[in-house]
Symmetry: C2
Subunit: 309 residues, 2 copies
């Protein structure tokens, strides 16, 4: 394929989705490049331990990312520390502009992921991976039988709370308002399962030694401050898709800013695909990888057709 | 949840999809059982070496399946050698009848996979994993620069041939008819890439020593038989979904017999999900695992709602 372009496929973002897309791209015979603004691994680097990635009983998030990077690098070039600034759609090819130069490509996979909305309080950064988590499915199992708080009031916060309660954590939900935004049935379930709720409250500080030992809570209504002894703090005040490129290119997104894809990970733009957390859905490493594989496979199939035209 | 039932979730089939669904089910707090008619691993057991499962540079299909089994077994009970005969939908629960008994469950994941249509010729079984393959994406890389044949004439056979040609194999396509069934653009591509086609021909026997060395080809039109020296035989005469249960339960399938699912792996029946190859799509281990994770997550979310009703 290739012909006029520098590459058949450029993958933007080297989390699990992007690395897998890169590997599958090259293995299909596509000249592929992966470009990453930071380092490989994406949010999986934040998971202290992953127990539910099939094939590994227990693996550090960074370790798994490192393995994937080594494996992908056997096939595909991955340029780290090179942010993509914009992508220009031309008549046939696309031009990918980075901090360091530009590349002409026949197809693009957007796998720029999401970032957690942070609380922005004292202690939050320091205890990351030592009691602070942004994902109950990832880390909840380490907190069975322990007191934890979930911060948030939407669907995902309530799901996180229920998940943690269900696996045996002692759960308190802290919400800044006087009522939850979450769906009714989730709320009803929450009441039944004995999750304690602290209304009109915010976390002001996270305290501990080697790990989290408690949080300072401020009750906005009563205007009092107290300290809660907890070992886990699950922050669930939202995710933010990293969608600047999608916006710039005119890719269709849902109301939350996640890229809309079909079953083959195609976006509304021809030969532009998206994979991983940027597409929403179940945010698990194995799901991101699968989407990367599917996106590259779709790119390969579409480019076969493209090169015939 | 549970209440009247024996289980919250029963997973039928312990390939990569089923094992992952089982693990995710239990990790969500669902009382889960996995039932498998044979042994764990499904079709992945047939892949001699897998190089594209993210996290493993190179792993035997059986070895990967074994790892997944060990990991899943830390959470979920897997009953091997227990075929499910039928599943009866009741007013709320479902009853799963196996060779050995029956279980009442609130939800079911169908992950019964597919089986390859076989050529049914001499040598086929014996050389499995030693030159006979049913998946170019899985095994093609081992045959770079080597002469291989692809048997078949449909889309997937042509895709297999193109894939193999693209990575550098010397490819001959053998088709029993005088023209291909494959899409036009695939055929055009095939012509351009220099894949040799033997029309009106069938493979009568596969020969070799420790590995495949050739095939006996019969030209039905000319009524002659000759021997082709090849090292790889890629059989692509179709997959058959193992869909007897789906048929019996009234699950909606596409025209090829694959189960139709939504983005959360839900079927048309309430609290019945499907994952892995039985749903069609890109047939890769990582994709099956992801679908298993998504299906169990959907089951968990739906059962939360179900238990409130």
């Amino acid at each position: 394929m290739k012909k006029g372009a520098d590459y058949d496929l450029i993958v933007v973002g080297a989390g699990p989705a992007g690395m897998t897309a890169g590997m599958y791209g090259v293995r299909s015979g596509l000249e592929t490049l992966v470009v990453e603004k930071g380092i490989c691994g994406g949010l999986s680097n934040e998971a202290p331990e992953i127990e539910n990635y099939p094939g590994f009983k227990k693996v550090g998030g960074m370790e798994l990312a490192e393995k994937m990077k080594e494996q992908a690098s056997e096939y595909v070039e991955i340029k780290e520390l090179e942010a993509v600034k914009r992508i220009e759609l031309m008549e046939k090819e696309m031009r990918v502009f980075t901090e360091k130069g530009s590349y002409l490509t026949n197809a693009v996979v957007i796998s720029t992921g999401t970032k957690h909305r942070r609380l922005g309080v004292k202690g939050e950064e320091g205890f990351l991976g030592r009691g602070i988590s942004y994902c109950a499915t990832c880390d909840g199992f380490f907190f069975r039988d322990k007191p934890v708080i979930v911060v948030g009031g939407g669907d995902s916060a309530v799901r996180e709370a229920l998940y943690l309660r269900n696996i045996g954590c002692e759960v308190t939900l802290i919400h800044r308002r006087g009522e939850l935004r979450a769906e009714r049935y989730l709320q009803k379930n929450l009441e039944e399962t004995g999750v304690h709720i602290l209304w009109n409250s915010v976390v002001k500080e996270i305290k501990g030694d080697k790990a989290v030992r408690g949080v300072v809570r401020y009750d906005k209504k009563k205007e009092i401050e107290d300290e809660l002894p907890v070992e886990g703090v699950f922050v669930s005040i939202g995710e933010e898709p990293v969608n600047e490129l999608a916006v710039q290119m005119g890719i269709m997104m849902d109301k939350n800013g996640y890229i809309i894809v079909d079953k083959s990970q195609r976006t509304n733009l021809e030969r532009v695909y998206a994979a991983g957390d940027i597409t929403g859905g179940v945010r698990q490493v194995v799901v991101a990888c699968a989407e990367g594989a599917i996106a590259a496979t779709a790119a390969y199939n579409d480019l076969l057709e493209f090169s015939v035209k």
